[in-house]
């Protein structure tokens, strides 16, 4: 018996197969993982992401604190509601967690961090915050859902008070707003348009039921994983962890090197790695043969060396197997993967594989 979100009873009522995820009892699927995947690509699906941790940071020096804590630079967040994806690094430049930070006002920022890393994240943040007199408060008694897909915002907007609806539908990507008791953000983890909505736990089931009644498909962790893999979005603990720098996990774009004078945790180690021509590269793989690529399979780049698949699986959109992998430095365009002793051919492809319902790689 694990922790349960405010929507647990709704999942059971919808026929979910429940699995443990980081200590939480979460829905894996409600019948067909593939159909849930396609619902998000083609229409709209809703995920319970209430297990994720919401942390409010308050204090006069909160912006200064976050510019030190995070590898990305919250100086980019200048209008209220604006969000930023960032890695939080340790002193060695390894990834403690990846997170989204929201600018609420000049003395209040909000972080949404992973569920499985909750305790170490909170401990780390609190340890660093004291020098900046920043208060760290976990937001409890909330539920969070991700409504994702081309029709997601339209269908979900019916749940938003008319007073806020127009503003909510006008939110630019990676921006959030408070709409009565809902916090709505145009973010997600699927490669589709949509909202993530934080709400009081007490009426989460009503919102969930209304979304389902309006034609939004309930989706489990299974579809969430195949969708994020197609979108080439990293999964913490799988694609990166404390032993891996963001440079070796396809997250180089999230590091704000400028201004050079900004000191952030892990910066010195990261700069050294960035100058290393032998740094491993993080790539997308498309399986040319039949079969399915899986996590931890060995990748051989002939004449160069070996790497490993960090996330592999079947892509329901492409109907082929795809993977994310860490490989030796180089410009190679093909490799081989050891699948149960057979060497299968893969093509190294640019990511994402799929975005906004469209296949983005050459087949």
């Amino acid at each position: 018996m694990g922790l349960k979100t405010p929507l647990f009873a709704s999942h059971v009522a919808a026929g979910a197969k429940i699995v443990d995820f980081g200590g939480w009892d979460m829905p894996l699927h409600y019948g067909s993982q593939k159909e849930e995947h396609h619902a998000v690509r083609n229409n709209a699906g809703v995920f319970d992401v209430s297990h994720m941790t919401i942390v409010d940071l308050t204090g006069d020096r909160v912006r200064e604190f976050l510019r030190y804590l995070l590898a990305n630079d919250v100086v980019k967040l200048q209008s209220p509601g604006k969000a930023l994806y960032s890695a939080m690094l340790n002193d060695l430049g390894g990834v403690i967690d990846d997170l989204i930070v929201y600018f609420m006002n000049e003395s209040w920022f909000r972080l949404i961090v992973n569920a499985a890393t909750r305790e170490k994240d909170l401990a780390w943040i609190e340890q660093q915050a004291s020098a900046f007199a920043v208060t760290v408060t976990e937001v409890g008694n909330t539920a969070m859902v991700a409504v994702q897909g081309p029709q997601a915002r339209q269908l979900a907007s019916a749940r938003v008070d008319a007073k806020w609806r127009e503003d909510a539908l006008a939110l630019p990507p990676f921006t959030g707003m408070q709409a009565g008791e809902l916090f709505i953000a145009r973010t997600g983890y699927t490669g589709e348009d949509g909202w993530e909505i934080v709400m009081p736990a007490s009426n989460a089931d009503l919102v969930w039921d209304a979304l389902l009644a309006s034609g939004v498909t309930p989706c489990g962790l299974g579809a969430r994983d195949t969708l994020r893999l197609e979108a080439a979005m990293n999964l913490y603990g799988t694609d990166m962890d404390e032993a891996v720098s963001p440079l070796e996990a396809g997250m180089g774009w999230t590091i704000a090197w400028e201004p050079q004078g900004r000191s952030f945790i892990g910066r010195a180690k990261l700069e050294a790695k960035n100058a290393d021509p032998n740094l491993q590269r993080f790539v997308g793989l498309l399986l040319e043969d039949k079969g399915v690529l899986r996590n931890h399979q060995r990748v051989v780049v002939p004449g160069v060396g070996e790497g490993e698949i960090t996330s592999g699986g079947y892509s329901p959109t492409i109907e082929r197997s795809i993977a994310l992998a860490r490989l030796p430095a180089g410009n190679d365009e093909t490799a081989e993967v050891d699948v149960r002793g057979k060497m299968l051919k893969v093509r190294i492809v640019p990511t994402p594989f799929v975005r906004n319902g469209k296949i983005r790689i050459e087949l």
């Binding site: 067909s32 993982q33 593939k34 149960r340």
Partner: protein, 131 residues
Amino acid sequence: MTELPGDLLYTEDHEWLRREDDGSVTIGITDHAQAALGDLVYVELPEVGLELDSGGDMAVVESVKAASDVFSPIAGIVEAVNEDLADDPEIINGDPYGNGWIVRLRPSEKIDEDALLSPNAYQDLLDAEDA
């Protein structure tokens, strides 16, 4: 839970066997197994003519979630494989006891029925797993 076909034998690994009139044995995975695996996306089939020991690697069924080995419940030679599964592995999800058969073997020794489960014994196993 739907009723188990009464004319099949079963294994603890959730496979079924049908003894055909010509002496061959058709093998697949049970409805319980396909439901636990979820949507199948790939089936790795053995070569026709391959000689299998009882308990040997016979096939691999891969769902969106994971890969699972299918072991041969008896010793035999692969006489036919279900080629339709190469393009449409979800046949197993839709019709596990019929069109979703996986391999047909020619037994290489007398089948030890005591090592297999009757429909009633397999139903008891499922009931015990649910409990």
